[in-house]
Assembly symmetry: C2
Homo-oligomer: 362 residues x 2
C-alpha cells in the first residue's frame, strides 16, 4: 500500500492507495462504534456498496446505505437535503461518519452534506474513479451546482482520510479512464516536467489499467496536489494553478449543459486552449505546446472545443465571466510558463479571442 | 466605543460596541472597492437598511441590498439560495462581502450563505437585537432549520468583525429585550456569579435601555462568550456550556412550532428546568435556584414550559433526543454546579421526568 500525507496542521490526513484499503486499522478505528452512512450512486452502489457496507459493519454501531441518483445534476441541494433527512431520521449525531463511495459527484455532494450536517461531521472519501482519485477526493473542495454556475455553493471541508481502492478501477469505462488522465497530465504540466514525461511514456499501461503503474502515478499526482493544497488550502494563491485548463473547461461544461462532456474531457480541451494562449503570450514554445497536445491526444481526450455556430469567442467569454476565478468580471487565466511551471494572470481580450477561434471546430 | 477580541488564531476578529460603529476604519477598509451585499429582513430593512447602505456606498464598489422575509421560518434553504442567486446575478466574486444586518435569524441565514457562497466569502455580523448581540452574532455558528430539528444544517464560520450599533436597540419591543436578557443571565449563571449579581441589580436600567449600562453588560457577555468560543470553537467540550437551558428550550421551540415562543423565552423556561434538575441532583442549593428564578422573573421571562396536555415528559424526551447535543439518542444536560459554574453530563431519566412535571403548567 502506498501512502501520501496531506499536511494541513490539525486538519492533516492520509491518502491510502492500494488493494485492501478498507481494512486499514486507522479507518476501522474511525468508524468503530459510530453511526456510519455509506453514500453512493446507483452504478457504484450496485457494484461495491454491499462489500464496503459489510466491511464497515464489522465494527460500526450501525451502517446506513444512502443512494443518490447518478449524473452531474445530482449536485443539487435536493440531494444534500435527502442525505441530511436520512441521517436525521436514523438519529445520526455529531459523532457520526459519512463515507463518500463513488466518483467526484458523490464525493462533492456527500462531502458537502458532511460539512453542513449539524455544522460538520467526520467524513471519508472513497473515490471509485481515476478522475476523483487524482483530483476531487484530495483537497477538501465540496459543493453543488447552481443554475448560474458550477460549484457555486460549497465548502472547503477536509476529510479524515482518503481511501483509494485500486480494484474499483477495473469496472471503469475507457472514456472515464481518459477523463482521469486529463488531471494527471495537468499535474505534470503545471508542476513536474519529468512526471509528464513518465506519464507520456506509460500511457499504454495507464489506459490498460496496469495496477502497478497506476498506483505509482496516482501516488505522484496525489503528492503534487497535496503539496499545492498544503501551501494554499483556501485557494488564495498557488492552489489556483490546479485550475489550469479549467477556466476554458468550465465554460465548455456550462455551455453544453453539465454531463454532456465529462469533466476531464472539458479539461483536456481546456488545457490545449490554455497552452495555446500561453504560446501566444510567448510563455510556452511551439515544441512544448505540440508535445503537450500529443500527450492529450494519446490519452484519448478531445483537443478542441465543442462544434456549433454558437461557440463564438463572445459566448465563451460570457460563460467564463461568472467563473469563480474571475475577479469582479475580468477573467484571469492559469498559463504555462514552460512545461512544469504555471502562472496566474489577467490576459487582454484579443489573444484570448484568437485562442478561442483557433481551438474551436467550426 | 467598547471593543472585545475573539481570539481564534488566524480567524480572530473584533467585536465593536458603540454608537457609530459603521464608521470604524477597519470596517471601511474591509468593504473598500468590494462588492457588498447588505442582507436584512423587512422590519430591520425599513428602519435601518438605507442608512447602512449609504454609509457603505461611500467606499464600496457596489452595495446590493438583499431582503429576506421575516420570522424563524426564514431559516430555510430557499432563503439561502435566494441570497446566492442574487449575488451570482450581480456577479459577486470570492472577494465580495456579506453584511448581515438584523437579528439572529438574519445572521444565521446570511452567515451560512457567506459560508457556502463560492465555498466561503467574508462577512460582517451587524446584529440589531439584544439577543443576537450577546448570543448568535459571536462565535461563528451559522445555519438553517430542518423539519426534523432546529439548526440541523449549517457551518462554523467566523465573521471578519461584529458591529454592534447600540442605537438600533431603541426600536426593539420590550418582549425582545427580555429575550436578550435570557442569554445575558445565562452567561452569569454558567461563568460569573458576580456578573449575574450585577445584571440582577441593573435589571431596571437594562429593561429601560440605558445605553451606558447596556454597553457595559453587552461587552461583558461578549467577553464571556468569546472566551468560551476561543477555548472550543467547534463545541467539542466547554462550548457546550453555552447551551445551558437550551436542551429544554429547543424542545419547547420545536414542539410549539418555531416562532411561537421567542428563542430567549424558551431559554428562560429552559434555564429554570436545567436549574431545577441541577437542584434535584444536589449540584445547586435551593437558595441559588430561587435566586436564579427571581432574576429570570425580573427579566420578564416565562419560568415554566408551555401549557397543554400534550406536554408530557415523554413528549419532551422525544423532542430532545434529536437535539445535536444528544449522543446516539441519549440526552446530556448542561447543569449548574453552583452559580457561575457549569457541567455537562448524562442524567438518568427519572430526575429529568420529575423536573419536567414540576416545570410544566398543567
Amino acid at each position: 500500500m502506498r501512502e501520501v500525507q496531506v499536511a494541513l496542521g490539525e486538519r492533516s490526513y492520509p491518502i491510502l492507495i492500494g488493494e485492501d484499503v478498507f481494512k486499514d486499522p486507522r479507518f476501522l478505528d474511525l468508524v468503530r462504534n459510530r453511526m456510519v452512512a455509506v453514500v453512493t450512486d446507483e452504478t457504484v452502489g450496485a457494484l461495491y456498496s454491499a462489500s464496503v457496507v459489510a466491511q464497515i459493519s464489522s465494527c460500526a454501531a450501525r451502517v446506513l446505505p444512502v443512494q443518490l441518483t447518478i449524473g452531474e445534476s445530482t449536485k443539487n441541494w435536493d440531494n444534500v437535503n435527502a442525505i441530511v433527512t436520512q441521517l436525521l431520521d436514523a438519529r445520526f449525531d455529531r459523532h457520526s461518519v459519512i463515507v463518500a463511495l463513488g466518483g467526484g459527484v458523490v464525493g462533492d455532494v456527500a462531502g458537502f452534506a458532511a460539512a453542513v450536517y449539524q455544522r460538520g461531521i467526520q467524513f471519508v472519501q472513497a473515490p471509485t474513479t481515476l478522475l476523483s482519485m487524482v483530483d476531487s477526493s484530495v483537497g477538501g473542495k465540496t459543493g453543488i451546482n447552481h443554475p448560474l454556475g458550477k460549484n457555486m455553493i460549497g465548502a472547503f471541508y477536509q476529510p479524515q482520510m482518503v481511501l483509494m481502492n485500486l480494484p474499483f478501477l477495473r469496472s471503469l469505462p475507457a472514456r472515464e479512464v481518459s477523463a482521469g488522465l486529463a488531471e494527471i497530465i495537468k499535474h505534470g504540466a503545471i508542476a513536474d516536467a519529468d512526471y509528464l514525461d513518465q506519464v507520456r511514456q506509460s500511457m499504454e499501461e495507464l489506459r490498460g489499467l496496469d495496477m502497478e503503474v497506476l498506483a505509482k502515478v496516482i501516488a505522484r499526482s496525489c503528492e503534487i496536489k497535496s503539496e499545492i493544497v498544503a501551501a494554499d488550502e483556501r485557494e488564495a494563491g498557488v492552489r489556483a494553478h490546479l485550475n489550469f485548463g479549467h477556466t476554458f473547461g468550465h465554460a465548455i461544461e456550462a455551455g453544453m449543459g453539465y454531463g454532456q462532456w465529462l469533466h476531464g474531457e472539458a479539461v483536456g480541451a481546456g488545457m490545449i486552449m490554455a497552452a495555446d494562449l500561453s504560446r501566444r503570450l510567448k510563455l510556452l514554445t511551439d515544441a512544448d505546446f505540440e508535445m503537450l497536445k500529443a500527450v492529450i491526444v494519446d490519452a484519448g481526450l478531445p483537443t478542441s472545443g465543442p462544434q456549433g455556430a454558437q461557440w463564438t469567442p463572445e459566448h465563451y467569454l460570457n460563460l467564463m465571466s461568472v467563473d469563480k476565478k474571475a475577479e469582479q468580471g475580468t477573467p484571469k487565466f492559469i498559463l504555462l510558463d514552460g512545461i512544469g511551471s504555471a502562472v496566474f494572470r489577467r490576459v487582454p481580450e484579443a489573444p484570448v479571442k484568437e485562442t478561442l477561434v483557433a481551438c474551436t471546430q467550426n
